[in-house]
């Protein structure tokens, strides 16, 4: 039967679409009126006055109207009779493609500083290696670390930043109180964080899903508040500065006679330190990835994935869920601690401001958007989300379009939040939604993520 024959005539359909879009515009007007139209500003008497900005409201309403109309037209347009490909690649092809992609990505990462140097020159390259390369790699590492807890064991942890903070503060305090160097602090910070992972994991063993998420959030906030208020040890809001940078087998990266440049007979530039830091974090991230991939094949890794799928079945089969959960918390936290230690050494200064809930949310978003359990997905999500928001700092040309008081960097987190919502709606299962089982009977087969439960543990 012809479906189009039963449709109302085109003119009435268009009228209905316009009416619908007008309704959307009206809603947009209602949303925009107070918040967008009137800006509260303090005048010289420190009293609030209102500034009207009706043009913004007009733009918002027009955008809503046009957007809704286009959406309706697109939805009403007769579909081509081509069958929709079932979500892209077949699992087998995806797995091969994933491997090629991973190899290519690794080569690209190793060569990234060279490319940056070639394209931006030695002065411009520092920014690209530091703000993009190192920054993104820290989040890749955090994402991979949290992936053990969330992606493999299915324990939703919204307080991961606590372990990042423990790692960073352990490093800072060890340096200041005992004079340790970075390379000694790094493993100690990881051990401290893993210890805290067990400490905080122990009380929440019985919790699952959203409740677990909220309790871990509370723990993360408690640790941050203690860091703020325990002034004698942590120096409160003022933070701790003067954390030494990593050394190259004992050779510091400075302009002195014992510095890296002098020892190797090179001219001093801060570039060497940035390059070194880039390769350090790259190595740390790759170690995280390698350990995770190996752990997945061990009994404990299989127990994690079994736990994610069904905790009760897991227990019935005699798996010790307590130990399984605690190892996941400990190992995930340990990698968070390594990342924190690196962060402290890279910045040279830490304060509680760097360890807010927003950071936890960022890392969880990276893991979930990447497709929980998928290492490559997490890396892609980290590059997209962190790189995407960092690049807004660089878009100065937008000032010429929108006027000189337009500051693209202010919209970073706004767009980040919006991207989280839109990506979730677009791909609720994350970017890479297929996964390979770590053990299989007879033939290798990937499981579509729709058939995999998660976040229940």
């Amino acid at each position: 039967m012809d479906a189009t024959a039963q449709r109302p005539p085109a003119s009435r359909r268009i009228a209905a679409a316009v009416k619908d879009a007008l309704g959307t515009a009206l809603v947009a007007l209602g949303l925009a009126v107070p918040i967008l139209a009137l800006r509260t500003e303090q005048d010289i008497f420190n009293e609030l006055v209102l500034q009207a900005r009706w043009s913004y409201v007009a733009i918002a309403v027009l955008v809503a109207f046009a957007g809704r109309l286009l959406y309706l037209i697109a939805a009403a347009a007769p579909r081509m009779s081509r069958p929709r490909p079932r979500a892209g690649l077949t699992p087998a092809v995806a797995s091969v493609a994933g491997r090629i992609f991973a190899g290519g990505g690794l080569v690209l990462l190793l060569l990234y500083p060279v490319l940056a140097l070639a394209l931006a020159g030695s002065a411009g390259a520092i920014k690209w290696i530091d703000n993009f390369g190192i920054q993104i790699l820290i989040y890749v590492m955090l994402g991979w670390g949290l992936n053990i807890v969330v992606g493999l064991a299915g324990l939703l942890d919204l307080g991961y930043v606590a372990f990042y903070a423990v790692g960073a503060y352990s490093t800072a305090l060890l340096v200041h109180n005992f004079g340790f160097g970075f390379w000694l602090c790094l493993p100690l910070a990881g051990i401290m964080a893993a210890f805290w992972g067990v400490m905080l994991g122990f009380p929440v063993l019985r919790l699952r899903g959203d409740y677990l998420a909220i309790v871990t959030l509370a723990f993360g906030e408690i640790i941050r508040l203690v860091l703020i208020n325990w002034v004698p040890v942590t120096n409160g809001y003022a933070g701790i500065s003067g954390i030494p940078r990593p050394t190259f087998f004992g050779i510091p990266f400075n302009a002195s006679d014992e510095g890296f440049a002098a020892v190797f007979g090179l001219e001093f530039t801060p570039l060497y330190r940035t390059l070194f830091l880039f390769y350090v974090i790259l190595a740390l991230a790759l170690i995280t990835n390698w350990v995770t991939l190996r752990l997945r094949r061990l009994p404990v890794g299989r127990a994690w994935e079994a736990l994610r799928e069904d905790e009760i079945a897991c227990r019935s089969l005699g798996i010790n869920t307590t130990n399984t959960k605690l190892t996941a918390f400990a190992i995930g936290a340990g990698f968070g601690g390594f990342a924190g230690s690196f962060f402290a050494a890279r910045q040279g200064f830490i304060s509680p401001e760097s360890f807010t809930f927003l950071e936890s949310a960022l890392v969880v978003a990276i893991v979930v958007l990447g497709g929980m359990g998928s290492q490559i997905g997490v890396a892609i999500a980290a590059i997209g989300m962190i790189g995407g928001t960092e690049i807004l700092r660089e878009l100065d040309w937008l000032k010429r379009v929108f006027g000189s008081d337009f500051e693209p960097a202010h919209y970073r987190m706004l767009l980040f939040g919006l991207a989280m919502v839109l990506l979730m709606i677009w791909r609720p299962r994350g970017l890479i939604a297929t996964r390979r089982p770590s053990i299989f009977l007879r033939e290798r087969r990937a499981i579509r993520a729709e058939f995999v439960g998660e976040g229940r543990g």
Binding site: L31, L36, T40, L50, P203, V204, Y211, P428
Partner: protein, 307 residues
């Protein structure tokens, strides 16, 4: 003794505000089993809407009567905040219903980040002091031997009275109207309710709208009480109100109010007698301890897991 009574009064006032926000969390969790992470930021948004309308009425339209101005602001603030919540539910949560359970949580966290940054971008990052209202106080005691006078401000009376009236009205809606019945039906079994002709989508939307309307009342009261708002004010009150909902037993309306009052009292007394720096630590610890040892809360029903 006077000091203690004063803290009790302050605690109940604060607890009323938390209770109003907590109802939004508890209802949404009851009906779709989701922690509406953006609820705290919806509350923050409502404080800004209230502030802006107060300024419009007093500065531009020049309405002299405070009672009239507050009433108009209350209505407008409830309407517009509800509209926001309705749109958020439509755009960010409804497409994810029936997806795996982390998806709406992540979407809600994204929405929370979006809302607080939207307010920061459009209204500026600074504290916004509101014009002061109802400065009067009633002295309940003359100040005893230690010279400490217990006072009850008009603001506090207003806050507790508005909360009480709204709770009665709200209780009536949930217990006695068709909408309330539909809500309770969806809470018990969404599929069965749909089969029996309940419009589940509409009921869920209205649940979000009602929660946001109560959060808007809390927003206006918060603005009147503290006299200053900030774009970051959604997170901590949001988590505290969620703690209240958990403490009272998530899914239970009287529990949310009871939890709110308890959290308000605990926070005030902790600040008064122990350490004001660690008052948020106290609340967060209560959240953790309740969830670990008493997951069904004070008035909640225990969750039975079927295999």
């Amino acid at each position: 003794m006077e000091y203690f009574v004063q803290q009790l009064i302050n605690g109940i006032t604060l607890g009323s505000i938390y209770g109003l926000i907590a109802i939004g969390y508890t209802m949404v969790f009851g009906i779709i089993g989701m922690v509406n992470f953006a609820h705290g930021d919806v509350f923050m948004l409502s404080t800004f809407i209230a502030l802006i309308f107060l300024l419009v009425l007093t500065q531009i339209l020049g309405i002299g009567s405070l009672a009239v101005a507050l009433f108009i602001v209350l209505i407008l603030c409830m309407l517009l905040t509800s509209l926001w919540a309705w749109v958020i539910e439509r755009l960010a949560y409804r497409p994810l219903r029936g997806s795996h359970r982390l998806a709406p949580l992540i979407s809600a966290i994204g929405m929370s980040i979006f809302l607080s940054n939207l307010v920061q971008v459009t209204q500026g990052p600074r504290n916004k002091p509101s014009p002061s209202f109802l400065p009067g106080v009633i002295a309940l005691s003359e100040g005893g031997g230690d010279g400490y006078a217990v006072t009850l401000s008009y603001k506090q009376i207003l806050i507790v009275a508005v909360t009480a009236v709204l709770l009665v009205a709200f209780w009536y809606v949930v217990q006695r109207t068709a909408l309330g019945r539909a809500q309770r039906a969806c809470e018990q079994d969404r599929r069965m309710a749909a089969l029996l002709g309940v419009d589940v989508d509409k009921t869920i939307s209205l649940t979000f709208v009602m929660g946001a309307a109560l959060a808007a009342v809390a927003g206006l009261l918060f603005l009147i009480y503290y006299g200053v708002v900030h774009f970051n004010d959604g997170f901590v009150p949001g988590v505290k109100a969620f703690t209240a909902a958990v403490l009272g037993g998530i899914g239970s309306l009287p529990g949310a109010v009871l939890g709110g009052l308890l959290i308000g009292l605990i926070e005030t007394l902790w600040s008064a007698y122990f350490s004001i720096d660690y008052k948020d630590v106290a609340t967060f610890s209560i959240l953790a301890v309740t969830l670990v040892f008493l997951p069904s809360g004070l008035l909640g029903k225990p969750e039975v897991e079927k295999v």
